[in-house]
């Protein structure tokens, strides 16, 4: 009886397995378990883990914290729109906000130092995609994620929005400049 007909033996669950199936199931199960335990293993021994530290917030509260940082640590401005470039001290809380259609402010960080990078949205969902290093997280309105990062490559990184956020989505860029350790 083929697969589109009822099984020939009504007590099919007592049929013995063919060796090929039993062997493969064993191999596949071992591989599945290896892949499963790889994730907790990386939490303990790996260096790249996404933060589960997050807080509920509001656009007003988040804007206020970001503005305070910008007022305190802006070192220069860029482009005709005079976008602030902020250089917060190592170890501090750094605020980045996404809004239609801009990442604000631009950041300057020091190689090898650790920062608490807060990421939040003023309006809709956005996607934080740092290129070319290639780090991606979701930015959900009403929440701020705190990612503890240690930039270890010198140079310019671009933040691209990779969650569709309307007609200006493809123009939404930001920057993180990483300077050499002092």
């Amino acid at each position: 009886m083929s697969a589109i007909q009822p099984p020939a033996e009504t007590v099919w669950w007592k049929q013995p397995l063919d060796k090929v199936e039993g062997t493969w199931i064993g191999i596949a199960l071992v591989w599945s378990l290896i892949m499963f335990f790889m994730m907790p293993f990386w939490h303990i021994y790996g260096k790249q883990n996404i933060s589960s530290e997050a807080y509920k917030t509001t656009p007003q509260a988040y804007m206020a914290k970001t503005q305070a940082m910008v007022d305190k640590y802006t070192i220069r401005t860029e482009t005709d729109a005079k976008l602030p470039v902020v250089r917060p001290p190592p170890g501090s809380d750094v605020y980045l906000l996404g809004r239609l259609w801009q990442w604000w402010p631009l950041l300057e960080l020091e190689e090898g130092q650790t920062y608490r990078l807060h990421i939040g949205s003023m309006d809709w969902n956005h996607g934080f995609s740092l290129q070319p290093i290639n780090i991606n997280t979701q930015v959900v309105p009403g929440y701020e994620m705190v990612l503890t990062i240690t930039p270890d490559t010198v140079g310019e990184q671009t933040i691209i929005c990779n969650e569709f956020c309307g007609i200006g989505h493809h123009n939404m860029l930001g920057k993180i400049y990483v300077t050499e350790a002092e």
Partner: protein, 570 residues
Amino acid sequence: MSNELYRTCPESGLQFHKPAERLMKAHAVVAVVILLLGGISALLVTLTRMPAVHLLPADRFYQLLTTHGVNMLIFWMISFEIAILYFCSSTLLKVRLATPKLAWVGFALMLAGIIINNLAVANGDASVMMTSYVPMPANPNFYLGLILFAVGALIGCFIFLATLVIAKDEKTYEGSIPLVTFGALTACIIAVFTIASGAIVLVPTWLWSLGYINHIDAAMYRVVWWALGHSSQQINVAAHVAVWYAIAAIVFGARPLSEKVSRTAFFLYIAFLQLASAHHLLVDPGLSAEWKIFNTSYAMYLAVLASMVHGLTVPGSIEVAQRAKGYTNGLFQWLRKAPWSNPIFSGMFISLVGFGFLGGISGVVMGTEQINIIIHNTIYVPGHFHATVVIGSTLAFMSLTYFLIPTLFRKQVAFPAIARLQPYFFGLGMSVFALAMMGAGTLGVERRHWDMAFTNAPLSFDYPASAYTMMGIMGAAGLVAIVGGAMYILVTVVSVFFGKPVESESSFGFETSRVMRAEPIVVPEGGHAAAGKWGFAAPGTFLLAIFFLITFVLYYAVNWKYLASVWPMS
């Protein structure tokens, strides 16, 4: 059975309940029309993302990408699947379909939903992508169309279940339901879960868009929406695996290696597959690592285990059937001598290999909690799901169509020469397309993005030249796949509406086993293993499976190494 409500296909031996038959035809025809709409939008979207062409303006691009996503991932798939559910219950169990009139109500609701949703998107104020993440607003009819469609599909699911009850009650079969029907039952159970999740998230969202609810939490929306969005693709997985088994039976008269193993694998789908909605939330704020690890791995990869089992048992059952017919030389004579010019088989086999190697491996890799950091929302993601949903499900359904045209529609397959080539154009084009997307995504190219050159942005960024090359390859391969899709629609539409009636099995177009009246496979002396090697009934398949595993392990390891090169973070 002399009852005029039934018709027995003289060639295949399949028995159709006429009211069910009309419903299957209606759902299949709507599905193919939707596929055409999705295909036209696919062409325009592809030509826009090809850097050298960049066809559409931004607003049209986002609008058509929404059209493409919703029609292909929801409307085409589920419309075709309702036809499959009716076939697997009424036809395979030789029983009347429960309440055909109510089934027509379901059909009408689905059709109304499709029209209402598409009109909303065409209106231009619902370009929110299939995901429609709040608080980005859409025309309320966008959600209303989806809700109506879901209610219609839910009616179809319950009619399928009721038909199983009738068959059991009226004893139209002995013992257990066929494996393929069991697979369809799996798809149905997942569909009910999916639609319930959809109702929980879309009904409030619809009320919100009308102004009756003033706030929907954006993070909660994502968690519940993905229980709809990802699970709906798991319906497809269960359905296309059932179709693989069905085609192995139709073309080769193959029987499952063991009913126990294949059914247990389907049961693992029911129990664990839906956890994978977490795949989309791995880099979301506010979810704990424990929650992510448990859910993204389907509780220790038990659903992946199930797919790896099907990936062995489907070709394994074909190998055993072929060996029993005398193709016993070496490890792969059974495969070389398979009917590669029969699109029912060739499409199914490309579907199986593409789903496993491209869709399966990439899905597990990017669904690994930490590796998702280097993949989330890049164009790698659509690369993955074009391999699962398009090569896996769509191509499997296309292959089945070449069997349904003569049996269900009683028409000869038109342009058999085109039909023979169709799975190769579609399957291979789509494979290269998906691989190029994964390549571009690995280089950081974003999905759902109109301009990878950022021409009008106040700041600038240049992707490496290799990323542009990948996107160019994606476009060229996508065009080949679209030609393959057009070939399918041409053959199907001409056959069904203008085709010559079937007179005998020789006018089917493609050789099939005589399905229900097939001679049982003769067990060789000493059991099936004697026709194989190393005590294995299907040694060639086992070797292919080991090759798959090696590919899997290597690719998995490469991605951990890549992850280790990005900035430390916690």
